[in-house]
Amino acid sequence: MDPILVLRLPRLRYVQARTVEEAAAIVGSDGGRAMLIAGGTDLLPNLKRRQFDVATLVSLRGIPGWDAITGDPQAGMSLSAGATLDQVARHPAVLSGYRALAQAAGLVSTPQIRYMGTLGGNLMVDPRCNYYNQTFAWRKAVGFCLKKDGDICLVARSSPRCWAVSSSDTAPVAVAFAASVVLQGMAGTRRVRAAELYRDDGIDYTTRKRDEVITSVEFPAARTTTSAYWKLRRRGSFDFPIVGAAVVIWWEDGVVRDARGALSAVGSHPVDISSYLSSLRGVHPDERLIAELAAAADKPARPLDNTDLSHYWRKRMTRVFIERALRDAAGLDPQAGLLTAQLKS
């Protein structure tokens, strides 16, 4: 086939790391021109569109124990970063104790992508934008943007920062569960809360250092927990989220002890909405309270005109999806809520 008609990868070295230490040493010493690859389902399309300048890819797939899932909801679970999204979505202990995580992993793109893509890769999905996730020729024709090769944001032209959208389905779930992410670099291993893994910037979106490998994600014990993840997208079997709502409720004696939530795709990082859910504590929520809280909790959501569908509608739907996730986690019919009903009028 004519090479011009095919989107090919750039010329690069491909190194198969045998240990995390080896991978960290290579990416840490290659002058910023080496990148880690796990499933490759986000990285390789981006490379084919020349969204990164890379000389070396370091594959993590050969590392022993790379896809292990251990523990249970009673004690907490540890999911290796290389566990595939399909593994996470189907794992019985994840399904029983961390339902929102199984839902989120199972709603990522297509079955084929879920067999290949990994949990660590999904947490690190490169923030997306209509002006960025395009071929080199497209971007050149329209004018390069701040995130790659250009000096202006094409979404908000006077903006000094990049507004690319955090598009991970599993990240808001990890934030809502207050999961910990384990990172191993040349200087050793450290553990951060999932929310601390991210920065509110479309380019500089993570606190992960260049030489660090995410090795696992640790979910705390979830004995009396219910959770749900609701995702808005154009096609039910493809597509990144254009709104995602993750909710976790901790119960005690039939009432809410604590509730946390986070949103996907309404900012450059997973947006924590836990502070809007605090009045759930000590009550068994009815549908009026849930609708009230959901209507207020969309406040920090700032969808811009840089993903699929209209950003006005995405903002409008954010509260609806928060309501659905809350109702789902509270055992109510997710789509029978007051905010959903308002959509029909």
Binding site: V6, R8, L9, L44, P45, G62, Q112
Partner: protein, 167 residues
């Protein structure tokens, strides 16, 4: 050493062992078609959005346009070329032909392999299970209905229960 140097890659495709010298940045799709001459696997979007390039890796549907051959040297890869048993088409191939489930035929290799993966783990899937399994593979001709019916027909014929009434 220039980065364009070719590297040896060992692949097991349809039960046959191959050793090829290829640049390490060639995808499995490119190696299958250009170096092994197995052109049954199709180029589509190259970006993981259409699944035209679908193959099976250790029995699971994989996108060959996003798979790196060096990582798959221990794996068993199946392409549409390996589906028939000699001159005898696979039950899925026969059902697709009989029911007109292939029109332009471009998505057919990926549809067949994805359906095979489903039937290998779930010999009598429900319509919903078939829809879920094939969800990633785009077809712009059939509207999917004939494909679902062909998978159901192949499943019915391959199972021990009596053939369905509409055969």
């Amino acid at each position: 050493m220039p980065v364009t140097d070719k590297v040896p890659v060992h692949l097991l495709v349809n039960g046959e062992a191959y050793e090829v010298m290829v640049p390490p940045y060639k995808t499995l799709l490119e190696v299958l078609r250009e170096d092994l001459g197995l052109t049954g696997t199709k180029h589509g979007c190259e970006l993981g959005e259409c699944s035209m390039c679908g193959v099976l890796v250790d029995g699971k549907p994989y996108l060959s346009c996003l798979a790196m051959p060096l990582d798959l040297q221990q794996a068993e890869i199946s392409t549409v070329e390996g589906l028939a048993n000699g001159n005898e088409p696979h039950p899925l191939q026969r059902a697709f032909a009989e029911l007109g489930a292939a029109q332009c035929g471009y998505c057919t290799p990926a549809m067949l392999l994805t359906a095979k993966s489903l039937l290998d783990s779930n010999p009598r899937p429900s319509r919903e299970a078939i829809r879920q399994a094939l969800a990633g593979v785009l077809c712009r001709c059939t509207g999917y209905l004939k494909i679902f019916e062909a998978v159901e027909l192949a499943a019915a014929r391959s199972s021990t229960s009596p053939p369905a009434a509409h055969v």
